[in-house]
């Protein structure tokens, strides 16, 4: 078995082909929309924390619902549901996209 065959490229921001001006933070995405994560800003090791639970730039996700009164955002990402508080969602830059074909 050759490991190199199954390695796909590492996801990082510079490899994502994007058009300027289509980014927004996660809070501004409507429920039901598919998104692709562009970047995670902010200190305190937030990017590491999210990366450790398997949430990284390049990932696709669907916004299931935005909670009322400034509550958290509920995401579906690779088959599981993840709630992110407002303060965290604000630091996540995303772009809307069409559902990726292997997930739709």
């Amino acid at each position: 078995m050759d490991w190199k065959l199954v390695i796909i490229h590492s996801y990082s921001i510079d490899r994502i082909n994007y058009k300027q001006g289509t980014f927004m933070n996660l809070l501004r995405v409507d429920s039901g929309k598919w998104i692709r994560v562009i970047s995670i800003s902010g200190g305190g090791g937030l990017d590491i924390k999210l990366r450790n639970i398997g949430f990284m730039p390049g990932d696709y996700a669907r916004v299931i619902r935005q909670a009322p009164f400034g509550g958290p955002v509920l995401l579906e990402i690779s088959g599981r549901e993840l709630a992110l508080g407002q303060g965290i969602a604000r630091k996540i830059e995303v772009e809307e996209c069409t559902p990726p074909c292997d997930l739709c």
Binding site: I8, L50, M56, G70, S78, E81, L84, Q86, G87
Partner: protein
């Protein structure tokens, strides 16, 4: 032979452990219920081996207590086989950790748990293909039903005997070169660590290992920093980022190749969140569920409490009569009996149904939903959604409330949540509010005291969180799927938690009770009253209230029971004015939590924080009671 269980939070690892070891670990449909590791001796095929349950961890990077614990364990104890439990329904996420484990040069068996869940979600997993690609053994498992457990341990035993090492995944060439470079620097330095995994973790700048290595090899840190600089220049990110994103991509790719996504069966479980997380109906459901929850606990608890208390009273009267010639001994017996009764008749009747109900809500998966709904509100108090759980628990008993702060990741959050949860009026304080205020002044006043309590907690939360240096990091919470809990685990878990009260807090309750009875014997009531005089005088309460207040620290409802004795009246309206009743009740609601809670605070946060919280509650009680006195003065 030693087997080590490793898996991500909520993968069913502790469930597996409890299946084979009897109930020894906390499980819950909530991330991060295990923080330390538990070990047990297990017998398989006539052979006894050691099984270690490590805390759930997403990676081995060591950025939170559970991860640090896991990594430390792996690098300091010898494990013969790693049993990697993976949630089959979230394969791509779980394989990230698996790939990291394959690097450790320890035999790994992958247990694909929750296969029933995966099937329900319409997934078909090609086990042999995954086995082939990972180069190590993969076995299916449904830990909650005990299916596949035997096969898993047989496989683990085989692997342990043969000592077959897995093949680790290869990274990009620059990273591989960097790993080799670090290995060459390590050469001959460390005996019990395998150089390759050590090199990878050092490259990821794992603090624990770097500080260990730094001791014997001071050049290692500058060397790693220089390698990292090069990687940052070439890749735009540091080595730990590159490594984890390559693993992440690899895991996603692997999952895509071995999982066939079929038709997903939409069931009631998928529809449930449309109601339970709905912006309107979600909150209605929350109120209904919590109300029912408390109603059940309250009716169960009170129906047990009364006969039990009556029994202890009779026993006390009987024993006092026998011992009437030995007054000191009689006083001691009464004190001991009161401590025992406090546990048996007052705490356990509420605590047990409470823990059962909580375990049920937890295993169903409702608690994370509550956290989701309450996140926005909790932020106003400087906490996030998960901290709602201690508050809910606090209304039953502060002891499990403080216990439950363990689920919060940050120490700051645990401290704040514990401090605020002790201000929540528990069932015992409910007795005071109802027995005094509701009975003499009407239920509406009692309701106002509850609302006033919420207001004070919110203000306190704002003030403390403004004083604490860091901000709450915010909510990151996995929503587990709803599960039907098994009765066995719910009962076992309740017992496991109740045991903590019995072992930790109850003895202190009994000892405190005995000490107070000795004080009582030497007729030190006057001295106690004098000691508490600054408080009673300041609040405009009768001088005699001092003793009931001190005894209230033992058990909150004692402050009401003893008030009758202290004031020497049968009808409180003869001894206290309406204003005094309100002031007294508000003070009792807020001041020092009971001894059992203090013991739990000490266990969770340490002595210093326990003392600061106790001091803080007295301060808050003084301010709140003064405020209430002012308001009451206006009304009456």
């Amino acid at each position: 032979m030693r087997f080590v269980l490793i898996g991500q939070p909520n993968c069913g690892k502790s469930t597996l452990f409890n299946q084979v070891a009897g109930y020894k670990a906390e499980t819950g449909n909530f991330a991060g219920t295990t923080v330390t590791y538990t070990g047990s001796k297990v017998r398989v095929l006539g052979e006894v081996f050691e099984l270690i349950d490590l805390p759930g961890t997403y990676t081995l990077s060591g950025s939170n207590p559970a991860e640090r614990e896991t990594l430390k364990y792996l690098f300091s104890h010898s494990a013969d086989v790693i049993i990697n439990v993976v949630d089959a329904s979230h394969l791509s996420q779980g394989l990230g950790l698996t790939l990291e484990l394959l690097e450790l040069q320890i035999p790994v068996v992958v247990a694909l748990n929750m296969m029933d869940e995966a099937t329900r979600m319409g997934m078909v997993i090609d086990g042999p293909e995954l086995e082939n690609r990972l180069g190590t053994r993969v076995v299916p498992l449904v830990a909650s039903r005990g299916r596949g457990v035997r096969n898993l341990f047989i496989t683990a035993l085989e692997l342990g005997r043969s000592g077959r090492l897995p093949v680790r995944p290869m990274y990009g060439k620059d990273i591989e070169d960097a790993i080799q470079a670090v290995i060459s620097k390590l050469d001959g330095q460390i005996a019990n660590f395998h150089p390759e995994p050590l090199a990878v973790k050092l490259l990821e700048r794992n603090e624990h290992l770097i500080s260990l290595e730094q001791g014997r090899n001071p050049e290692i840190l500058p060397f790693i920093t220089s390698i990292n600089k090069k990687i940052i220049r070439d890749r735009g990110q540091d080595a730990s980022w590159v490594l984890s994103s390559e693993r992440h991509g690899l895991a996603a790719n692997l999952a895509r190749r071995v999982v066939q996504q079929g038709e997903r069966h939409v069931s009631w479980r998928d529809r449930l969140d449309d109601i339970l997380l709905n912006p309107f109906w979600g909150y209605v459901a929350l109120i209904v569920i919590l109300f029912t929850f408390f109603q059940i606990i309250y009716s169960l608890g009170s129906s047990l409490e009364e006969p039990l208390l009556r029994f202890f009273d009779l026993l006390n009267v009987y024993l006092s009569r026998i011992l009437s010639d030995y007054p000191f001994l009689a006083e001691l017996v009464t004190g001991t009996l009161q401590g025992v009764a406090g546990g048996v008749a007052i705490v356990l009747p509420y605590l047990l149904p409470f823990l059962l109900g909580l375990g049920f809500l937890e295993d169903v998966g409702y608690l994370p939903r509550v956290a989701f709904l309450m996140d926005a509100l909790m932020h106003r108090m400087g906490l996030h959604g998960k901290a709602i759980v201690p508050f809910i628990l606090g209304y039953g008993c502060n002891v499990p409330a403080v216990m439950s702060t363990r689920m919060l990741e940050e120490r700051r959050d645990r401290y704040l949540a514990s401090a605020l949860a002790t201000l929540v009026p528990c069932a015992a304080r409910l007795a005071v509010v109802f027995g005094l205020v509701a009975f003499y002044l009407g239920p509406v006043v009692a309701l106002w005291i509850y609302l006033f309590n919420l207001f004070v907690i919110a203000v306190t939360g704002r003030i403390i969180s403004a004083l604490l240096p860091e901000d709450t990091p915010g909510l990151i919470l996995e929503m587990p799927v709803y599960r039907v809990p098994t009765i066995k685990t719910v009962f076992q878990k309740a017992w496991f938690r109740a045991r903590e009260f019995v072992v930790e807090a109850w003895p202190i309750l009994i000892i405190g009770s005995i000490i107070l009875s000795i004080l009582n014997y030497y007729n030190l009531a006057r001295m106690i009253n004098l000691l508490v005089l600054p408080i009673t005088w300041f609040l405009g309460l009768p001088y005699e209230v001092g003793v009931p207040l001190i005894f209230g620290i033992l058990r909150k409802e004692l402050s009401l029971i003893m008030l009758r004795q202290a004031l020497n009246v049968t009808n409180f309206s003869q001894g206290l004015t309406a204003i005094q009743m309100i002031t007294f009740t508000v003070f009792v609601v807020f001041y020092i939590p009971c001894l059992a809670t203090l013991a739990m605070l000490k266990r969770e946060l340490g002595k210093r924080d326990m003392l600061t919280i106790a001091g803080l509650t007295v301060l808050i009680a003084m301010i709140a009671a003064t405020l209430a006195r002012g308001i009451a003065w206006f009304i009456y």
